[in-house]
């Protein structure tokens, strides 16, 4: 049964076929003059080396330490992030949502893979996968369990389905025992998953290890 139950899209023959198709496509589009391979190189390099969840982590750390910025972020995240020089510009439609002891937020895109790339980099495979897309809106506690996260039974859970061009960033709760920490140090506690809502920010002890 196992043979039939698991289809591996990454099987070798499939992969090399895909490699050939993609190479052919790039050749055609280049010869047609639609694309410039050097620009493609630069895009790939940017995604591989420059874009990542550190952008979002800085925004979160700033919000944890600067009440005025936090207020501005929750009011208009695009504008607030725009005021930070050290963070890449974001699109027009960023919305930040705050986790509290009473309420936990989780972000999903059931229809495709909408994700705040400028804040978090490329989405992980699981975010784009059928298990996450199908279950997040129906059984978020079950999904959280897959991530090893258990919330109190009474905590309200709000799932945001990204069905338009609006992009959502979760502002996780600041961990206890970080009262004197600098923004830079706090940013180390802010994981990608904590900004999607499938995780919590790390406790100081977790990064001490």
């Amino acid at each position: 049964m196992a043979d039939h139950d698991h289809h591996h899209p990454h099987e070798h023959s499939e992969l090399s076929e895909t490699q050939l198709r993609v190479r052919a496509l790039e050749t055609i589009l280049t010869e047609k003059g639609y694309i410039d391979p050097a620009a493609l190189d630069a895009i790939v390099e940017t995604y591989e080396t420059k874009v990542g969840p550190r952008n979002g982590a800085r925004v979160v750390a700033k919000a944890w330490t600067d009440p005025a910025f936090k207020q501005a972020l929750l009011k208009d995240a695009t504008a607030a992030v725009g005021t930070l020089g050290h963070v890449s510009p974001v699109g027009d439609h960023l919305v930040a949502v705050e986790n509290t002891p009473q309420r936990h937020n989780m972000i999903v895109c059931t229809l495709c893979s909408c994700y705040p790339w400028e804040m978090l980099g490329l989405p992980p495979v699981w975010y784009k996968s059928a298990p996450y897309r199908s279950r997040a809106v129906k059984d978020p506690r079950g999904v959280l369990a897959d991530f090893g996260v258990k919330l109190a039974k009474e905590t309200d859970i709000r799932v945001w389905d990204s069905t338009a061009e609006t992009r959502f960033l979760v502002l996780p709760m600041r961990p206890a025992g970080t009262e004197e920490w600098s923004e830079e140090r706090l940013a180390d506690l802010v994981t990608r998953d904590s900004m999607i809502g499938t995780g919590l920010a790390l406790a100081p002890a977790e990064i001490a290890k």
């Binding site: 899209p9 990454h10 895909t18 490699q19 198709r21 993609v22 190479r23 496509l25 790039e26 050749t27 055609i28 589009l29 010869e31 047609k32 639609y34 694309i35 410039d36 620009a39 493609l40 190189d41 630069a42 895009i43 790939v44 995604y47 591989e48 510009p89 974001v90 699109g91 027009d92 439609h93 919305v95 059931t110 229809l111 980099g121 992980p124 699981w126 784009k128 996968s129 298990p131 897309r133 199908s134 279950r135 997040a136 809106v137 129906k138 978020p140 506690r141 897959d146 991530f147 309200d156 859970i157 709000r158 799932v159 389905d161 990204s162 069905t163 338009a164 061009e165 609006t166 499938t198």
Partner: protein, 218 residues
Amino acid sequence: MNGVHDMGGMDGFGKVEVEENEPPFHATWEGRVLAMQRAMGYAGAWHIDDSRYAQETLPPQTYLAVSYYQRWELAMEKNLLLRGYVTEAELKAGRALGPAKPLPRKLTKDVVDAGMTRNSFFRQQQGPARFKPGDRVRTRNINPLTHTRLPRYARDKLGTVELIHGCHAYPDSVATDRGDDPQWLYTVVFDGREIWGPDTDPTLTISIDAFEPYLEPA
């Protein structure tokens, strides 16, 4: 369309599997696909909802069987053919065989940063917003054969307008080549029990971002 892409609330896909220390790309070709898509988008070859629609119209068994970037690649081929940028013969030959179709612009190395900045989807409003935060609304029961961003699980459901995001390009029109057709966009929140029935965890609320034509007053 009610495709298999509209999978919110479906059962049977199993656990969420997290890959530790996941690389940005799992193979070189994935990065090339992503970059080609960005370049063609910047060039004005098609809209983001055209890409989505092309993925949605892949055969459902293909949609589920292939990997994420394979889906992108297949969708890109569909749009290239559909819109006359390449021919079947060229795809088969693996090289250009005829002249190009003109495009508004081209993504070159010096403008890559601009090409990677997200477009704005704000559009000129065509009239006043029909709803305001706090309004009770019912989502419409629509089942178009074409692209829509109103998921099946959230149709014909009672919710509350929570946020208003301004006027945006309307995907249902864009993906059917009917232009931007700007529409007001709202975050509408639903009690989980309204969506999944009375046995649902009472702590659950779910929101979608809904364009005004998806909504009627409740």
